[in-house]
Structures are given as C-alpha cells and as structure tokens.
Amino acid sequence: MNNFILHIPASINLYREGDLRGLNIEDLGRYLTEKTHIPFHLCGDIYEGLSEKRVEAVAKEYAKIKVKDPDRRLTRSAVPNLSFEVAAKKHRSGSTLSKPQPSGEGVEGLIMGSPLQAEIDYEKRRMKDLQWRIFGILYEGIWYQKIVSEIIHERQFDFNRCTILFTNQLFGTWDRDDRRYHARVSLYGFPNMISTTGLVEAPAKPKEFYLKKQMGVPVEILKEEYQGRFLDHGDPKTTDVLKGYAMQALFFHLSGEPFCEDPDCRLFNSHWQEEVLHAQMDGKYEFCPRHEAILQELKVKGKPR
C-alpha cells in the first residue's frame, strides 16, 4: 500500500484561456482519466459569462501585474511584510510551486502602480476574445493565479477538484536565488496554470540559438536551422508534451510534490527544451517505476464515484 496519495479529487476541471494552438484539451483530459480513472470536465473559457463590470475590474488587475523589469520584484506595497515572492525551487526550473511568503529581505521592489487606460483596454480586449492570439507580456504568476482563482471561486467553490487552467499567456515567478523573474511553463497551486507560450519560451533552447540571435540572425531562420530541437508556438507535439505537465499538476494536488528527479519520467522538472522533449516524448518510459506504481494504485482508488 502506498502512503503517497493524500487526496484524490472528484474530478479534474480543465479551463482554457486564449488561442491554444496545438493543444487538444479534450484529448489531454481523456489521457488523464485513462491514467488515473479520475473523470475530467471541460469547463470552457475562464472568462465566459463575466459581467462587463467584472471584466473591467479584472482587466485593471491584470494591467497592474505586468513584469516590466525582470530584475525587480513586483510588490503590492512598499511595506515589506505585505510584499510577496515565490518560494522558488533551489534549482532553476521550468515549473514552480506557488507558496507566497513574506520577503523581509529589504530588497527594493517595484510597486504595482496605476496602469494606463490603454493597458486596461488591452486586457479587456484580450479577455473578451476567446481566440485571442497575442502574447508576450510577462505577468507576475502568483498574482495571475490569485486573479484566476477568484474568478473560478465565483463560479464554483470546491477544493475537491483538481483545477487546471491552460493559457496562451506568459507568466513568471521571482526566483530568490538569482533574484530575477523567470518565465515558467507551469505554476502549481489553485488553480494549476500551464502556459502553452511558457512551454516555448521558458525552457532554454540550445545555447547556439541564443548566440546567433544576438548576432541578429532572424528567429525564422534559426527555427529552420534548429528544427526539432525545441518546441514552437502551435507545435503539433504540444498536446503530448503537456500531458506530462498536467500529470505534474495532478500529482501536486495528490501529494504536494509534482516533480520527479528521474529525467526519463514525465514528472521531471526540465530546464532545457531538449530535456522537455526527452522526458515527454522519448524517455525510457512514461513514468518511473515509483510513479507508475502510484498511478496503478490511483486507478483503483480513483474510479468514478
């Protein structure tokens, strides 16, 4: 008997935000259920049904949490004990856990200011368009998660579900070790957030790619040259790769530990694109023996009730 599993959710709720080119959420949901016997539920667009007033308020919040200087931590207040930062993993990672903590470090942060109206209008347009394709702004991940969490709670307050939001927006979290923001593929907590843009931008591409880009070689040329060594926006491999990240989210819900140290396991916390592709596409196995055993146990316990 495995003591690893703490809490089996009644269902896995899958939300979406923006144009998720390359990702088939339904296919991903079926995979999760097949692996765990926990039913999945497609919840649709995260902003669907929000009133005009609520959209305005949420847009204003989003406009405040843009990370404009990755070397300065974004804080709600100048008062140290009201500021926040992420309890970053000790290693550089493509994923992180959301554990807001008071900083108390006395580091000068960047106070969230009043956004310009054009910034709020941009966020409103983004929220209202279910197929919004534009991304590239780096949002403060913890605050993004808080905003999204409130929206979900307004609809359904139920911690008995594992909730995952798939978004095409980019978020990052503050890393206490190197004192800067890093873009992330995923952020686990409530809700779990997985970014299709983060999947492309966060794990590092081959070093030569960046060197050539610095020399002014257009990205389009580099993509051809390094084809297959990293994921691109709308990549047909997106669904398969994100199945592993969704499983990390589920393991976080189950046990509080989403990652595995085995680079062949889908739960491996990859830093490089090549590691992502290896762990998710061509590892020795899907899950390491320990996590495979947990999944087998889950299949028995997780049958629909």
Partner: protein
C-alpha cells in the same frame, strides 16, 4: 565662331539666399499650426504622416537629425538590409519597395531603397518636414490635452553654455504623435511633469513583441498618439528584434486612430 552658352541660368548669391529664406519661412509660417505634428521621422512617424496626409490632413514631421528615416536605413548590426515579417510586406508592395522572401513569413529589402521610398511616399502625400529640429517640451491645454510641441534647432544643444539661452518656439496642432523610438521623448516629458508614468522597454524578447506594439498603439493622453518603438517604452513591452513590420503597421494604426478622432471631431 559661336559663343558657348552657360548650362545654368545665372543668378546671384542674394537671390539664392532669398529663395531659401522665403521658401522656408512661408512653409514654416503655414505649419506653425497644423492638424498633426509628428515628432520623429522614423518609419512609424513617416507611415503615420503618409497615411493621414493622403486623406488631406495637414501634417508636419519634426526630426532632430538632418536625415529623415531613423533606423530604417539599416537592419541589424549596421547591415543595410531591412526585414519585415508577414503581413508587413504588403506595405512594402503598396510603397513599391522591392523585396525578397528570406524564409516563411519573413521578407528582406534594401534599406536605402525601402527608406527612400517611404520618405518619398510621405512627401508625395503632402507631409512637410522640419529637420534639424529637436523636441523640447509639450504644449498643454485644459484637461492635460496635448496641443503642440515646443521645439528648437538641434545644434542649440551643442552650443557653449554661455549661449544656450536660445529660446525655443512653439508649434500647435490638433494631434501630436510621439514616434521618437525607444526614447519616447514626448511621453517622457509628460512623465517629468508627473502626468503619465512610462515603464521602459524590455522584460523579455519574444516573437510576439511586434503584435503587442500594434495592439498598444493609440492615444496615451488626449491629443497624444504614440507609435512605433515609443509604444514599447510607454507600456513596458518586450524589446524587439531588427524587423520593421511593426513600425510600419503601428504607424498605419496610429493614422487610423487620428483619422477616426478627427472624424468624430
């Protein structure tokens, strides 16, 4: 034996001088007040000017350098090939600028050819220029509406301290465009006065920067439109690579914003 006729008509020095002064003064007096005053004669400013002037909008571009065109003469690393991503090539076609396909979705043109064609298109549309003229301050009216710019000769900046008291002059306009690139000079001046807060560019470098620039192009304060790289500075958008499609399309969007606002009165 017949006497050889001179090629050029003889004119005296004073007539040349009078022609320069008279031509400049007449235009300058006429453009002390315009419909649109564009600060910065780079690709986005030229594009705004060209598009609105084609619709009959009285337009003046103020440029601090002697040359117009900003960074559009050269691409990355001082190499004189400029690139645009799709759909930027449609504007190249519209302006009659030859280009080649570099790879899927990316096109390359000769910088000098592209830039000179764009300048010519703006001139042909009726845009006037005040080059060697540097932006100094903003003309503000009630409700912080931007109604013009205070300008000076560029060389004044380089004069010895004893004679830098050369006072600037003011130009009025219904709309002012900040197309001064990453400097965002006009918005920065308003920031000095505490009217607006800019963010400074550069959180990340991702492919979507160009889309974000277009999306954020527009009126930042009543009467003040921001276009091109200045948009990145004002809104803290990711910095961009050496492609110019966003500059051209941002200019076009800025023009649309101005035309819509003029229509509404």
């Amino acid at each position: 034996m017949s006497e050889k006729k001179p090629i050029f008509t003889p004119v005296s020095e004073k007539e040349v001088t009078r022609a320069i002064v008279d031509g400049f003064a007449r235009q300058f007096i006429e453009y002390v007040e315009s419909d649109c005053l564009i600060v910065g004669g780079g690709p986005s400013g030229l594009m705004v000017g060209r598009d609105i002037a084609l619709k009959g909008v009285k337009t003046l571009i103020v440029e601090r350098n002697n040359y117009i065109g900003g960074g559009f003469w050269i691409g990355g690393y001082l190499m004189n090939k400029v690139t645009v991503r799709e759909p930027g090539q449609k504007i190249l076609e519209e302006l009659g600028i030859p280009y080649e396909k570099a790879t899927k979705g990316l096109y390359v043109a000769d910088g000098p050819h592209a830039c000179s064609k764009l300048i010519a298109a703006a001139c042909d549309a009726g845009v006037k220029f005040a080059n060697m003229t540097i932006f100094d301050d903003v003309v503000l009216r009630e409700g912080n509406r931007v109604c013009g710019a205070v300008v000076n000769w560029t060389p004044v900046q380089a004069l010895p301290r004893e004679i830098t008291c050369v006072d600037p002059i003011a130009l009025e306009a219904k709309f002012v465009v900040d197309s001064t690139g990453h400097d965002a000079c006009v918005v920065r001046k308003l920031e000095e006065r505490g009217i607006v807060k800019t963010s400074g560019f550069g959180a990340m470098w991702v492919e979507q920067s160009e889309d974000l620039v277009i999306e954020h192009t527009g009126e930042v304060l009543p009467g003040l439109i921001v276009t091109g790289m200045a948009v990145s500075t004002v809104y803290g958008l990711p910095r961009m690579g050496p492609t110019f499609g966003a500059m051209l399309l941002s200019g076009r969007k800025g023009a649309q914003v101005i035309l819509e606002k003029m229509k509404k009165g």
